[in-house]
Every structure is written in structure tokens, then in C-alpha cells.
């Protein structure tokens, strides 16, 4: 018996194998499906996805075999990898190279082997898709073709892994970048915001009023920049799935009451009246929704704040609680503002989108509020939307699934 020679570019081949992070991972359905298919097509009891490591051959999928790995010295697959092409041995006992192999003479009693190499996009054979039987057999032309085809499918699954790993790495980098940049921006902003605040507050002496106006402009724009950084951080966290939600059964009326209290000051400043009503509940009482109180409050306050911004002075903003679709609870905020043009509707939940108005009150926003609302609502398994009529006003609403009480 002669072990397979080591390929001349073995070092590069091994590092190509390692970049897929596939060795010693758990079984996966997609590979098991493909070995099942290979075994069925070739009418054999054993089919394997093997990876040829430095001194062992490890099986990502093994149908009909108990061993998780075998010594590379005896492995048929090492020969397939060295040849870089399909290897078929119809009867191992008649093959001088394999007749005394422990896999043939031992308990496994391999008589038939056919393996097709798994070749990476840059030309390295990483392992094989192989089929094995304990009695001699032949593959017809169709079966050989199918074995090669399934082998290519295995390889494309492996390549996909590389893309997914890449994607995750980029996402991680992006999120680290956002967090570092946010911190680095916040530090100088602390000095700027602080200095302006002290000057504007007259702490070091009275500021002449024309100058004070400019200081106020600088201070309020610094505040806006700070809000923007906070919103970007928030959105990044939600989109990266790093938002820790603490869902518990909530009474929507509690949520609405707290939101109204918090937003009342801003409404008063803008001379906007806030009213709210709850649809009469059934005999069982109002269903509770399952949500994170603080995050849903953030959504509601955001919708209120938008509604107040677009309301004419003396206008009214009305909130409602009612039954939504699919057993969800719906909260809505209705304004009597200018409404939203049809061509703007599709993008209002996108990032950095603000409806263009001449009203200066809208300038304080960051253009991220509704994207954040949408992300929060969707993480709750809910839906968010808007109905609007130009010249009459808009109703922004969201629906959250109800909490099912344990029996």
C-alpha cells in the first residue's frame, strides 16, 4: 500500500481549505441532502463529503459511515485530491495500489470507490464528494456525470460560505466604524456645545443681542448634529440586530398616556391640541400587546413629534387605539397638516428622507426618525404604515402583536 503523494502546492492548498472555516463544524442539512442524493444516484450505501486536512480526512457529511474522520495515509480521497480528477475503483481487491489498504482488508471492507474532487474557485482541490460500497460495482456514464454535478453543487455551497463570512465581517467592521466615529465626534462636540451653552447662558457676562442670535444658531445646530449622531448609532444598532428588546405584556393606554405626557410641552409650544381615544374594548378587556415599553414609547413620541411639526398653529393631533389586522393592536396618530404627496409616500420610511416643507419646525429632525420607528416596529413582529390625503392630513399607524396569556 502506498499513501497518496502530497500535492506540490500543499501549503497553499491547506490555507485555501482553512479560509472556509469548515473543518470540525456541525453537520448541515444542505450537505447531507447532497450525499443522500449521490448515494441514491450511484445506488451505494455510503456517500461522503470529505475534506483533506494536513494529516486526516474529515467528513462534513457522512451517509452510512460512523467515523467522523480517517487517517490521511489510508484515505482514498487523498488520491482523488492529488489527481485532481474523478477517481473510480470498481474493485479494490483487484487494484494493486489499494488491495492491501486497511480500509479494504479491515472491517470497513471497501470494495468500490468513486470520488470527484471539490475544486475551489482558485483551483485547489479541498476534498471530495465520494461514494463507497462493500461490493464491487461500476458506474454508468450518466451516474458519473451526476456524481460530478453533485460534487460541483457541494463546492458551490462551500463557496457560498466564503461570501457569507465576508458579508458578516464587513457588517462587523461597519458597526465598529460607526461606533468609533460616533464616539470621536461626540468628544469635540462636548467642548463646542459646552462653550456655546455657557456663552449663550451669559455665564461669563451679557452677550450683545445680535451676537446672541448667532450663538444660538451655532448652539442649536450643534444640538442637531448630536441628535443625528445618536440617531445613526441607534439605527445601526437596530439594523445590526443588537437591539436588546425586553418585551412584556403592555396596556396600550399606558403607553399612550406616557407618550402624551412627554410630548405635551412641545405641543403647547406649537399651540397644538393633543387628544386621544381608545376604541371600546370587549368584555374580556383590552388585549395587551407584547412589546418593549421604552422602544414603543420612542416610536409613539416620534410619530407625535412629526404630527405636531406639520400641524398648523391651533390645530389638533388625535391618537387612537383600536383593533388591528391579524389580532394585532393598532395605535395611530392623526394630524391635520398638509398631507404627503403620492410620489413622496414610498420613501418616507427610508433613511435621511425629509418631506420638504417651508415650515422651520421640521428642520430640527435628522431624517432618520421614521426609519428607526420602522425598524423597531418590525423587530416586534409588527407593521407600520401611513394613510394620507393631500391638503387634509396624515395618519401614521403601527400594529403590534398581542401578548397571548399563558393558560
Amino acid at each position: 500500500m502506498r499513501p497518496a503523494p502530497v500535492p506540490p502546492d500543499e501549503k497553499e492548498r491547506l490555507s485555501a481549505l482553512r479560509r472556509y472555516d469548515l473543518l470540525d463544524t456541525l453537520p448541515e442539512q444542505v450537505y447531507d441532502d447532497l450525499t443522500e442524493l449521490a448515494a441514491y444516484v450511484c445506488r451505494v450505501p455510503i456517500a461522503l463529503v470529505s475534506l483533506v486536512d494536513s494529516d486526516r480526512v474529515w467528513f462534513k457529511s457522512r451517509l452510512g459511515l460512523c467515523e467522523a474522520e480517517v487517517d490521511r495515509t489510508y484515505a482514498f480521497c487523498a488520491h482523488t485530491v492529488f489527481n485532481g480528477d474523478l477517481l473510480v475503483i470498481p474493485n479494490t481487491t483487484l487494484n494493486r495500489q489499494f488491495a492491501d489498504n486497511p480500509m479494504v482488508t479491515g472491517g470497513l471492507a471497501v470494495r468500490f470507490y468513486a470520488g470527484t474532487p471539490l475544486v475551489s474557485h482558485d483551483g485547489y482541490p479541498l476534498g471530495t464528494l465520494c461514494v463507497i460500497d462493500s461490493r464491487p460495482r461500476k458506474l454508468n456514464r450518466k451516474q458519473t456525470e451526476m456524481l460530478r454535478a453533485i460534487g460541483r453543487q457541494v463546492m458551490s455551497q462551500i463557496e457560498l460560505r466564503l461570501h457569507i463570512n465576508d458579508h458578516q465581517r464587513i457588517e462587523r467592521l461597519k458597526s465598529e466604524f460607526v461606533s468609533v466615529v460616533s464616539h470621536e465626534l461626540r468628544t469635540p462636540l462636548t467642548s463646542i456645545r459646552g462653550s456655546l451653552g455657557l456663552i449663550e447662558g451669559g455665564v461669563l457676562g451679557e452677550v450683545p443681542s445680535p451676537m446672541c442670535r448667532l450663538v444660538e444658531v451655532a448652539r442649536s445646530n450643534t444640538d442637531r448634529l448630536i441628535r443625528l449622531i445618536n440617531d445613526i448609532l441607534d439605527l445601526e444598532k437596530i439594523e445590526a440586530g443588537k437591539l436588546d428588546l425586553h418585551p412584556r405584556p403592555l396596556d396600550p393606554e399606558d403607553l399612550l398616556a406616557v407618550a402624551v405626557t412627554e410630548i405635551q410641552g412641545i405641543a403647547d409650544q406649537s399651540r397644538v391640541r393633543l387628544t386621544w381615544q381608545a376604541e371600546p374594548s370587549g368584555s374580556a378587556g383590552r388585549p395587551r400587546m407584547l412589546g418593549d415599553f421604552d422602544r414603543l414609547l420612542q416610536v409613539l413620541i416620534n410619530l407625535f413629534s412629526n404630527a405636531i411639526k406639520v400641524s398648523p398653529p391651533g390645530g389638533a393631533v388625535e391618537a387612537r387605539i383600536e383593533a388591528g389586522d391579524c389580532g394585532r393592536v393598532r395605535l395611530s396618530v392623526h394630524d391635520h397638516g398638509p398631507g404627503i404627496a403620492a410620489h413622496e409616500l414610498s420613501r418616507i420610511f427610508g433613511k435621511f428622507q425629509q418631506i420638504d416643507t417651508s415650515d422651520s419646525r421640521s428642520r430640527g429632525g435628522t431624517g432618520l426618525g421614521l426609519s428607526i420607528c420602522k425598524a423597531i416596529v418590525e423587530q416586534h413582529g409588527g407593521v407600520i404604515g401611513v394613510e394620507t390625503e393631500e391638503g387634509k392630513g396624515s395618519t401614521f399607524w403601527f400594529e403590534i402583536p398581542v401578548a397571548t396569556l399563558p393558560e
Partner: protein, 124 residues
Amino acid sequence: MSVRKILLVDDEADIRLVAEISLSNLGGWQVIQAASGPEAVALAAREKPDLVLLDVMMPGMDGPATLEKLREAEDGRATPVIFMTAKVQKAEIDRLLGLGVRGLIPKPFDPMTLPDEIRRILGT
């Protein structure tokens, strides 16, 4: 608890300047400053401040490490400490509050309301 002397620790001189004006002019407190953790530990031992305002992110010895050294040096007296931080993620805030400080002031802070914020945290 009456506060007269505050030790302000931040590696950014500009932020120290803004905070100092706020704390002394608006708060009426005496303010001493340190630009690093080791400086803060030495100054605290000598000056025995009534309160430490401690930045979290500092090169070398950071806020939590400085807090630990302060506690080691004062054998049980436990001067009240308030963290100041530009990292405002909830998990980070929870971690910092778990280290045995009186509270946390997020950056950027508003110097016009900083003394009130401190009084609120201390409950005075």
C-alpha cells in the same frame, strides 16, 4: 451630604475648561482638575474632594481603572463618584453603573444644567 470641592478628571483640556466654568460659576463649587487617572488618584489622596467627576474613556488608566485605584487608596471612605461618558449604549451604561458609582452623565452634557444634574444624582 454637602459638596464643596469637586475633582474633575478628563483627558480633554477643553472639556475640563467648560465643565469647570459651569461647576464653579453656576454650581458655586471649588474645582480641582486632573488630566489622567494616576494624576486623579494622587490629587484625591492629597485634596480629599467631596465628589469626583470621572471621564470613562481616557488613554492608559481609564475611568473604571481609576475608580478602582481611588477606592483602594481611601480605605472605606468611598468618595462619591459620577462617571461622564460619550458611550451611551444601554449595555455600556448598565455595566458602568454596576461599578459602584452614584450616577452617570452622558456627553455631550449641557453646562447650563450640569450643576442641577449633579445635585439631582446626589439627591441634594
